[in-house]
């Protein structure tokens, strides 16, 4: 029997799920519904190589339309604005109705917005999709002094790119360190120094009181009464899972769509994957929501398998990266549950890594270094974490001793 499988949200998790379903099921109809009028594309370059003109829009697609055609995967550009889980139907703004047997929700996440006077709403820019990236790129070409509100990954990556485009950049962060929620302060400070060395101004511990428009420019008043004059404002103050559509339904929500280790939601035949899902991680024995490239891909693939009937548990050790200037920062596992921290290296040119251990086993690690310098060790750390083995701390802390030795054991 032919099944109708619908994937709601045409991003990274969605496309990987679609292709995985097809690998395991040659018969079912697979349809991706995406509100962006674009085939699924990579978002990481939007804040980096796309702004720097090193990558063009056409370089960002995961797969060409030919690949989708060959695999008989349909993509429709439509925005869904109502769901009826009971009757297994999705409704679009234009009155189209889509019936499904299995549904994957991969609607991703959306940027939090500043609460501002209405008349300034269209003056502040955010970056999530290609359209916004194009707009920012076009506008900044005529601007000089740019303010980024929020010192998280995306804000800092934009700050790094704009600095490389010779712009004068100010970053305002409300917390007492950059990338506050997840990155150890020592690493945040190393990244901050690099921004300062390249001429970016970093303001920590300050809140915005008011933004006012002066002709074509802006004045930002901070809570210590200092004033920042700027030509253009971009905000990157975090994101929330895209779940508005499901708020008045039976679907269980709690910081995203709650799923188990098989990507199953609280409703039968409805799955969720990627940024939007708050999934149970069997290794860490807790729920988590991740916003990362590797996770969107692997979680999508896992959902695809489960939808196609190949029961598969998702237990990937989390991993993400951020590129700023000549630095590559990487994070693996979780860094908020530990009873011991071990430091490896102290020079950013050779890479610096902090390992987070609990009961002598690695739970996660965060490293930063000049491009290429932490990747191998972080990758080995993911493997060590997965093995759940008691590790030799001497090897972890001594950069002259290769971490490979620990996996070979």
């Amino acid at each position: 029997m032919k099944n109708n499988i619908i994937i709601l949200g045409g991003g990274q998790a969605g496309i990987y799920a679609a292709r995985e379903i097809r690998q395991n099921d040659s018969k079912s109809n697979i349809k991706i519904l995406g509100e962006e009028n674009l085939l699924p594309y990579e978002r990481p370059p939007l804040s980096k190589d796309f702004l720097l003109d090193k990558k063009k829009a056409e370089d960002l697609y995961f797969h060409s339309s030919d690949v989708l055609k060959n695999e008989n995967i349909e993509f429709e550009n439509i925005s869904i604005n109502k769901v009826d889980f009971e009757n297994k139907k999705l409704f679009a703004k234009n009155d189209n109705v889509y019936s499904y047997d299995s549904l994957l929700i991969s609607t991703g996440s959306e940027n939090k917005k500043l609460t501002l006077d209405n008349n300034l709403k269209n003056d502040i820019y955010y970056l999530r999709n290609l359209e916004e990236a194009k707009k920012i790129k076009e506008i900044v070409s005529n601007k000089n002094k740019i303010t980024i509100i929020g010192g998280g990954f995306i804000g800092l990556e934009i700050a790094s790119s704009l600095s490389q485009l010779q712009k004068k950049v100010v970053v305002i962060e409300i917390g007492n360190q950059l990338m506050g929620r997840i990155i150890p302060k020592q690493i945040a400070d190393l990244v901050q120094n690099t921004h300062i060395e390249h001429g970016n101004e970093i303001i920590l511990n300050k809140q915005i009181e008011k933004i006012s428009k002066k002709n074509d420019d802006y004045e930002i008043l901070l809570n210590d009464n200092s004033l920042i004059e700027t030509d253009f404002i971009i905000a990157g103050i975090g994101s929330t899972p895209t779940v508005k559509l499901f708020e008045n339904t039976n679907l269980k929500l709690d910081n995203g769509i709650v799923t188990n280790q098989f990507c199953e939601t609280s409703i039968k035949d409805v799955y969720a994957a990627g940024d939007v899902s708050n999934f149970y991680h069997p290794f860490y024995e807790r729920n988590m929501r991740l916003e990362s490239y590797q996770h969107a891909q692997n979680h999508g693939i896992c959902a695809g398998k489960n939808i196609a009937g190949v029961k598969t548990e998702y237990s990937s050790i989390p991993w993400m990266w951020s590129d700023q200037f000549n630095l590559n920062l990487q994070l693996t596992g979780i860094c908020d549950e530990y009873d011991e921290i071990i430091e490896r290296g102290n020079d950013i040119n050779n890479g610096v890594i902090y390992f987070f251990l609990k009961n002598n086993k690695i739970r996660g690690a965060c490293g930063v270094g000049v491009i290429g310098k932490v990747g191998r060790d972080i990758r080995i750390t993911s493997k060590l974490t997965e093995k759940d083995a008691i590790v030799d701390k001497q090897i972890l802390s001594d950069q002259n001793l290769k971490l490979n030795k620990l996996i070979q054991k």
Binding site: E42, P44, D49, F62, Y293, Q294, Q297, W319, W321, D323, N328, I371, G372, K373, V374, G375, R376, R379, I380
Partner: protein
């Protein structure tokens, strides 16, 4: 095959098993690997972004880029895992008198 194209990389004991060394020749960079069944060579720079693969992790027949975990098959050069999607160029390798040579075209 003319003999001139074979370039000496170093001695066979300069690479540990399941590891690689970087080899620069004129303006190009290569990676030379020692796997359980012999020596192999590829371009030294990832096809995704310009990052040296010498800092990557060799696992079985694969090299994983240290920047974004793109994975390539060392023997065929095939890009196996995104964000890497373009294959890596590979080069013939021979061993003569405990010395490794690669053939650059």
């Amino acid at each position: 095959m003319s003999e001139e194209n074979w370039i000496e990389v170093g001695s066979t004991d300069s690479i540990e098993e399941e590891d690689l060394i970087r080899f620069d020749h004129q303006d190009k960079t290569f990676c030379v690997y020692k796997l359980t069944d012999g020596f192999y060579a590829t371009d030294g720079i990832c096809t995704h972004e310009a990052v040296h693969l010498e800092d990557g992790l060799v696992m079985d027949d694969e090299i994983e880029c240290p920047m974004h975990q793109g994975i390539f098959n060392i023997k065929s050069g095939e890009a196996l895992s995104p964000p890497a999607c373009e294959d890596l160029k590979t080069y013939p390798v021979k061993v003569d008198n405990d010395k490794i040579f690669i053939k650059i075209d």
